[in-house]
Amino acid sequence: MAEIQIKNVAKNFGSYQALHDINLTIADQEFMVLLGASGCGKSTLLRIIAGLETATTGEVWIGGRRVDHLSPKDRGISMVFQNYAVFPHLTVFENIGFGLRMQKLPDDEVKRRVERTAGLMHIEQLLKRYSGELSGGQRQRVAVARALAMEPDVILMDEPLSNLDALLRMEMRAELKGVLAESKTTAIYVTHDQVEAMSMADRISVMHQGKIVQAASPIEVYRDPAAEFVASFIGNPPMNFLPAKAAGSGRWTVAGQNFDGPASGKDLKWAIRPEDLGIADAGFGARAKVVEPLGAHLLVTCDVDGHQFRAVLDSELNVKPGDVLTLAPQEGRGRWFDPETTLAVA
């Protein structure tokens, strides 16, 4: 059992506040992804959980035990470092077996585990090499294998696949997810790749400027973003926003169209995903500005009422810049945000 609880954790570097009051519970065996832009504090949070950094305030609990005061090796975790930290003076074999040697496991057990995890990461042919003779991607896989070989209760991974090519990354993603599920490991996985986050996570925590904006299942984060930041950070292309004018008793006018919405007094923003738009007889008048064929789809950037508006349309459609399209949103897919708080309004 290794549930992780982060209670009111904040971190200051001098006068710079890198983390603000983080509260997060990661269930036993859950695969939690920390997603956010560069510099938002993902690594800092991970390092606090690992014990490599001390929180300015707050508590960290792992498996029902408060671990703030414990050194990293006593927390029952293992970790993949963002900068790999693969030991240059040891062979790949000894790197992967480093933690096992520290636990004084017998040689044949070390060998068994090293070979198994090296096989998972497709680096079994590199075991005799030194890290100076490895590529960045190979070194990264050594770092992952070293963490997996520990068979820990909790594994912390800081962008463990960032340096692999697209194909290998896809393969490793599945591999990693499978292994961790099988070994019932609680995982925290840092990435800024949304596809990775979506495909691997049980839950995603979206971070922004040292805060967790939303922690929910991938589909919820995608469909019901809790804030404008999430809506514009997740999804490629991001959500479209249009100002909404209140027309009384839950009725709203958005770029000349009428919608039912929340019963709010002040003006809101209405948002829709580009793929939830289609060509219809009635809807927004949109003048196409840029047309990008993406193979499966056609990404059309238009102008609606003076606002930039993107639609993902069928690639068979013949759209040219300058054409005026009539775009209608799919039923039930529009979302509402308060422009002042930037939070979602139901």
Partner: protein
Amino acid sequence: MEARLLPYFLILPVTLFLCLFFLYPFVLVAQEAFGTENGFSLDNFREVVSYWKFPISMKNTFLLAAAVVPIQLALSLLMATMVTKMQKGRDLVLYIWTIPLGISDLAAGIIWLAIFEQSGFLNSMMVGLGVTDQPVSLLSYQTPWMVFLAIMLAEIWRATAIMLVILVAGIGLIPKEYYEAADVFGASRWKQFTRITLPMLRPSLQTALILRVILAFEVFAVVAALGGTLFPVLMGEIYAYQFDLQNGGAAAALAIIVLIISIVFTLIIMRALRVPKGATI
């Protein structure tokens, strides 16, 4: 200028300088060592080696090196680790520890002589504390181990800092992330030292040890000041041949022997602390 040739052009002045002031004198010394009136011969070497003081000065030099260098290695490693862990005042401590480096070896010998001689500090202190009734002669032929100890102390005091400086620089070059990884994967402080610091410090250890071992074979002034003729060493014998006995050939031959010993030890150290290809930081 062609980029291929530029490096050679740039090292030319140093090369010329070394040829003029190192290689040329070296050739002269070698000539003197191997040459007699009737051409090439090993007579000088035979003379030097068969002299009764040769084995004892050889033994003394090795004994001193074997006693001093390991202690200095351990001390400098300990000091370097301590200095590296310090948050504040690190530079100040380093400056203080390296003060002996700025003192010539003869001066160092004289300082320690002032401590150990019959009218020295140590004797005054012992008398003052009532340990002995009157000053005793510590550095005499009756107490050879005391002479050895005094020379050892002086050498350790004088030349540990040179290793310290090299090791501090070397430890500073080891990225912090490796210690973090070792920490996460369960290495204790001691294991981190033996599994991370020591192996990653190999290049610096190499430099420090080679430098120190060569200096140990060249030990002279400290021994001369503290031991005089009680503790003959190789360098002292070279001095005696050259200036007391006016036998340049023998002095040159002995110098070549010391050179060969130094080269052999350099090779051994380089081999022992070799970093495998691809295993560098």
